[in-house]
Chain length 363, copies 2
């Protein structure tokens, strides 16, 4: 297969880069973006890199009305030797296409979008922050653009990739959070869109998050929508528990997002010879394990925070303090290992990192 | 309260209107649109009518990523005496604010948006088609616009109202449809967003609809997401059945949209002295009633079609032909009565219609 051709139009006016210590998550964007169009006649076409700019859409564009929208999140890191590294980007585009299938959006060619992503990151390489814990957040997304109010899959789409330099998720070091088990609102149900990375799932989650924050919790722990009994996810992350030496995480059941960090964590734990099981976990089991002094650790996994330790779980009127509210050993080791591999500081035995420079030089 | 002030900028170039017999649903838009902005500092502000035009948005605008989007659908009709009538528009804005609450979008002032809607319809009055069954479809909607990738409610929104002249839903007269009971995909679950009119619900419904159409069915009949046993909605309409003389419709349970046509139908049936009950209806009950020869009618209710008779229900391998595949008496009477009231041809005993001319003259 020949390499996809991506046209490039460079920006003439470079924006000012944010100061390293003032980086926030997802507020500043780089000088360029990737864009590609889809029409029923021509399929996906015209992949191009252009200056970062507003997009102009008809008010009847279907995404505003019927929400056909999928996205991904990954990061580019600068190693201490100045190498630009991506972490398992092919997994993101594999998942993007799964989300596309669920949302009736035409699949993209993974080679084209990965090449576009690499060239974009290469062009905006100076935007990758260098400080500990910082990175360049990458947001590929697809939206339906046909101006039509019929409830049907759109015949026109745009795919974009935008980049945002982000600060350390843990400004004062990795810190356990307090989360509330959600008993009223439901994030997703089997047969719904819970395992697709689509806008509507996030819209549906805001209310519970708002209520939880107003009560002083950082995140909500979602239960299944059918029995409201089994653990699903925490906020927008997957969740792991260590119960009496066994590490467990909810099995992928159709309503849980198949996290790439989740997958990496499972691989690492197995490599370390630790017992890790994907299965149903009820909230009752957690409460009982806590009573018995066997709930040893809990942590979320996701691209933004990598590993987010849970120090306290609230279920109805009960408070379950985990590991004295401290970051557990497993969470610490996972965080250090994954971020070490991502930054090129530790050996990449799984072949997870993809270097951007090398590839683009071979164009 | 003083009347809200809505600034008006008229279009200088009028578009060509579509021919009456070529009207489709939701493909053509009028010369003007209503728009209003929200910021955390200023609240909802600057309501205005401007020429219909594309909107320019940052690629990071939150609606593209996290789907905070709510909408409404209603119609304006031209009576035989040339009066412009809206049908229960205050109910739409009441429901819009309920959807806003669920999606963490700030409420709008119903008086302002209703006044904006009336002025907009008045300005684009020439676009209201006159032929039997035609009308001007009205689409108010709100989208989140803040350029930010954090998962949180947006601090910026736009509300728009756009207008589209639409043809008769039944080109060859009211015609019963064949629908399949959906057993794999789920539209919504209690605790989710099923009772809000938000984009994600429609995105989630596309796949099942695509599968149903490929098998020759017009629509899917949704079951509840928990037990997959109880009837919820048909396609994007509410559903009614006549079983052994009793008219029944699923009770509002948190995952069913509170349809305005549904509400009007219940009022009319009661006015006619007919028995109408809102309750749980299982698919097993329908199958049994059909076997016993007691499933006498089925019809969907919604703004687009008003009343959509169901001639055949498919459940697994069973086919339930209803009323010999013909439109039932109740469906016919409801369709004639509601469209008659909407067009000003029948007495409006409930005070459902709102005349646009009169109101705007009093400005």
């Amino acid at each position: 297969m020949t390499k996809p051709t991506i046209s490039v139009q460079l920006s003439t006016a470079k924006k000012q880069k944010p100061e390293a210590d003032k980086l926030e998550f997802g507020r500043t964007f780089t000088d360029h973006m990737f864009i590609m169009d889809y029409t029923a006649e021509n399929g996906w076409h015209d992949p191009r890199i252009v200056p970062y700019q507003p997009i102009e859409m008809d008010p009847a564009a279907m995404v505003y009305h019927y929400g056909q929208s999928v996205f991904e999140g990954l990061k580019a890191y600068l190693s201490s030797e100045g190498r630009v590294l991506l972490f398992r980007p092919e997994k993101n585009f594999e998942r993007l296409n799964k989300s596309n299938d669920r949302l009736c959006i035409p699949r993209v060619d993974p080679d084209t979008v990965l090449e576009g992503l690499k060239q974009l990151v290469q062009i905006d390489k100076e935007w990758i922050p260098q400080a500990e814990g910082t990175s360049l957040y990458i947001r590929p997304f697809i939206i339906s653009t046909e101006p039509y109010l019929g409830v049907a899959p759109s015949n026109m789409y745009k795919m974009l990739i935008i980049l945002s330099p982000v600060g350390s998720y843990y400004k004062e070091g990795i810190r356990p959070v307090k989360i509330a088990v959600e008993s009223e609102f439901v994030r997703a149900v089997a047969g719904g869109t819970g395992n697709a990375k689509t806008a509507g799932n996030y819209a549906a989650s805001l209310k519970a998050q708002e209520v939880a924050e107003s009560k002083g919790f950082s995140q909500v722990l979602w239960l299944d929508g059918v029995e409201k009994k089994y653990i699903e996810e925490v906020g927008s992350m997957n969740i792991f528990f260590k119960i009496s030496g066994e590490i467990v995480t909810p099995a992928l059941n159709g309503s849980i997002l198949e996290g790439i960090t989740r997958n990496s964590v499972i691989h690492l734990l197995k490599q370390w010879g630790l017992s890790v099981t994907e299965r149903k976990i009820s909230v009752d089991e957690l409460v009982q394990a806590h009573k018995d002094g066997l709930l040893e650790e809990a942590f979320g996994t996701g691209t933004a925070a990598v590993i987010s330790p849970v120090g306290e779980l609230i279920w109805k009127d009960e408070s379950l303090v985990i590991n004295n509210g401290q970051t557990g050993e497993i969470a610490k080791r996972l965080y250090q290992t994954i971020t070490g591999i991502q930054k090129g500081a530790l050996p990449d035995t799984f072949g997870w990192t993809v270097e951007v420079d090398k590839v683009s030089q071979s164009c």
